[in-house]
Point group: C3
Chain length 397, copies 3
């Protein structure tokens, strides 16, 4: 229990951030800035919907771990957002300090938390509740380091690196960080526990899936220049449409005419992951092709790559984040090389640095988290929540 | 299975659309255009929420067909949006070509898909999964033809035709197209299968209902002039409030004091359907009256019209789209005649053309879809999805 | 049944409001006004999501009363919004008349309805369906009186009263009004009925919780000056993060290592309630502290205050609105005294008037509602809805 308090320590930074009066943040900007702020405010709320309802309920497919999935989601967000805003305001770890009372700070924090939720998906159900908050706390400094080195050019060798909506720096980083965590955070007993789902849990999961799908354009548009709004939004929707169609086709082929609802819930989103790197610069036909390919890649990941990762390396990836965020993220990052001239070196360097930082960071963080305790069971709410067995629970005592 | 690929063919058009660089679409517009784009972007996301979470989960009331309802919804959207954007960019079938990398293209595509989802609701559970995608593909050309002839004045005799948010051209068109489909796509065996629901499935359905209700103002505001935003939004909310109240009253009267939750989920939305034609020009008191009447109309449709359609014509309308979108849509279109002087001829002509095109188009499309195969069972996920029977499904293998 | 029609009477006012042509409301404003309208339109939709999906589904935790919870929510909204807009347009009860075809009218009506939904949460499951609509109708005049006296300075002694997003005037008013209602609307038999929940009903409840959490910034930003958007949004998110973390910690401590999912669903939101009074003027570190404290306060409310209220005063508060909206609302209002110089007198006067009006108004309204009939059972859909027992319900007859 007391390990939870390490979250508190990280947040001291935030509390020491000089308090800003509303007057300061209300400085009169010109109308274009106001419009931009209104627009980005909308994106920030949409992305918050993706983080909570989207990631949270997509993970409710695990039918004996629904309380854990949504509570874990809440804790990752609640620990991660203040920590990122606080650290970013301090200027530590970052190329530039960002005013905490700004929509930009909120958007950047949400991106970091998205990456943390992806990582959490890999170890879902195998950590204690407080460890979700701890995961966000230990991961975010690594995420910020990668953000500084690769995205903000801190290495000096990633000029031209293209990743407008984080195929590499958010999705792939989160997925490979999660695989690193999984190495440290899976007991032998948990390796033998099946994750189960049922008709109700899969319907909840589809709510998460659809929330992610429909708000994805805002994730992609959040930090692209305002003039690219329409192209980015349309490309994102078209890529998602492509992934949804190829998911259906390949899931149906692999299932000999029967579709897996888990494929539909997850792989339909792979188009959003893969288009992230180049959403603002792609022709529409390429966006569709990227969607088609990434959906197929994700379905094959669930069918062939994930079982091998588990058998050969003992890596249990509860939600299959490697299939949805890992491989499609890398594919999206590599696709930029084909479309944009002269970015190959920067792109490959950026991907390499991201992968190394993610895997090492995840491994180290996994052992740090493990040191605070291990969950006994696997994918069971009963260990963490009161009243999970009996059907009747008094709401008023 | 292979009939699915016909979707692909329709999309070739889109792939041939000249690729647009982001630079082109980022041409500096003046600030008013930027504000309009920001605003319409918001509408586009809200309508996407209605299409996926809204229509998708409203249809999850069918408790043995929840996977089919949400997957079918995904497939209609995934096939319909790229096809409409592609066809519309080509200028074929339309009064004017619309730049594909634009929010306008996205909004118009979403309207077309809304109509297709309404039609799909009539045959829900009686077609194979790939046939949902096929339904969007064969329907959208008919929809665009109607859009061109009636809305965009292609006939030359609908000048003054009033249908700001598609009571006639989206809702009624979709509903009567769906009835046409149902004639061709219902086997005798399916006519004898009951659609069942339960406490859980009706709660999911209420999520869809509320998502539709709350985002409906954005559906109505999407293409009205910016200066009419407030009037349109308030009228839409007031019409929905009216329909919700009369739904409760009449469902309670017909149920002798007991309400049908299916009435609440569906008929509460009839106000949004009916106000669509005149949402931007109605006085607020008329908006309320339209809501009250349309809610009652929809409740009576479920109780009296739908059983008769089934008994007398053998038309099975799974979701009762004729009650929610058909009759309230026509009523909304006719109400314009009372409020606006001089539109009677245009309005009646437009409605007549829409009805003929919808019913004939639906019938033809139904036989085209039927030629690719028939679903054996009715309202059963088991035929299309793996692992629907057993409760325990391994998510990681 | 016929008592429902009293709703209709209240609405006659609205129907008499002079009809406004769209042309009037489309008067050309300058660009800044347009931007403000676009922004506030977004807030209005977000708050509508909170009212329907948020409050509605948070209350679905009661597993035998899910239909009632969502239908009751629909009826409060459907009766409350038109009534508020109509009364407010008439100028009766208010400091200034507000044009009904305006986003401002819609936002103010939504605030009033939020307060009514909070009050309804206290008596959830113990009133007949039509009484939810009646509750909105009898409560809204009291709410408007309080709004006029306290918020709009009608008393003359609340100058400086600080309550930007309604900690006192919306949340605490609704909660104490609800306690007043509960005194009149709880039969001895109902006092002995337990409210039960289960795994499915708590998942639905978490959907409501997350919808409220994620759109809360729009609730707080809705009427603050545009220049304070960023500070308000960030403060709100940070306060919610603080409440979520302390909820986890204190629920875990009280549960000896096991968390109550009802605490997570509810208390995580207390930060949004408490920050409402000062969301636009707080330094970020104070916002975090307010969140931490209010989450704890709410958890302790569920554990210690609510059982005492019930034992000592016989007040049954179904959803525990006193814990979530009552105490955190008062705390938020009092916190303003610490942060802002010179508001102590206004703040204390405003709180006192609000409490008195809420408790008395609730008590009076409770007896008025009671006069129209009493629900026999407690927290049972079966009394109000058809087909709640059998699993198979024909959707098409």
């Amino acid at each position: 229990m007391h390990s939870f308090w390490s979250v508190g320590k990280g947040l001291v930074l935030l509390l020491l951030t000089p308090a800003l009066s509303a007057a300061q943040s209300a400085a009169p900007g010109d109308i274009a800035n106001t419009v931009r702020e209104v627009q980005q405010y909308g994106f920030a709320i949409h992305i918050l919907a993706m983080l909570l309802l989207g990631f949270g309920f997509l993970m409710v497919f695990a039918n004996r771990y629904g309380y854990g999935a949504v509570t874990g989601t809440y804790l990752v967000v609640a620990a991660g957002v203040p920590l990122y805003i606080g650290l970013r305001a301090s200027g530590v770890l970052s190329a530039e300090a960002v005013e905490p009372h700004s929509i930009k700070a909120l958007l950047l924090a949400e991106f970091a938390v998205a990456s943390a939720l992806i990582a959490a998906g890999a170890v879902l159900g195998r950590v204690r509740l407080y460890q979700y908050a701890l995961l966000a706390v230990v991961m975010i400094p690594f995420y910020m380091l990668n953000e500084r080195l690769v995205l903000d050019g801190g290495l000096g060798v990633t000029k031209g690196f293209t990743d407008a909506a984080g195929s590499i720096s958010i999705h792939a980083f989160g997925a490979y960080f999660g695989l690193g965590l999984a190495v440290a955070l899976t007991s032998q007993r948990q390796r033998n526990v099946e994750v189960t789902s049922d008709a109700a849990s899969n319907r909840f999961s589809m709510i998460g899936s659809m929330v992610l799908w429909l708000f994805w354009p805002s994730f992609c548009c959040a930090v692209v220049p305002p003039g690219q709004l329409a192209a980015t939004a349309v490309n994102t929707v078209i890529a998602l449409c492509g992934a949804t169609m190829s998911t259906y086709v390949f899931s149906s082929i692999l299932g000999k005419g029967k579709v897996a609802i888990a494929d539909i819930a997850n792989a339909a989103l792979a188009g959003g992951v893969a288009i992230g790197a180049t959403c603002n610069v792609m022709p529409i036909s390429f966006a569709f092709a990227i969607g088609l390919f990434s959906g197929a890649l994700c379905v094959f990941g669930y069918a062939f790559v994930q079982p091998r990762l588990q058998r050969r390396f003992g890596i249990v990836d509860t939600c299959g984040v490697h299939n949805l965020h890992g491989m499609p993220g890398l594919f999206g990052g590599l696709a930029a090389i084909v479309v944009l001239p002269g970015v190959a070196a920067a792109q490959l360097t950026g991907i390499a640095v991201t992968l190394v930082l993610a895997l090492l960071g995840g491994l180290v963080s996994g052992f740090v988290i493990r040191a605070t305790g291990m969950k006994q069971s696997g994918y069971e709410d009963a260990e963490d929540f009161a009243n999970t067995k009996e059907q009747a629970v008094a709401a008023v005592s």
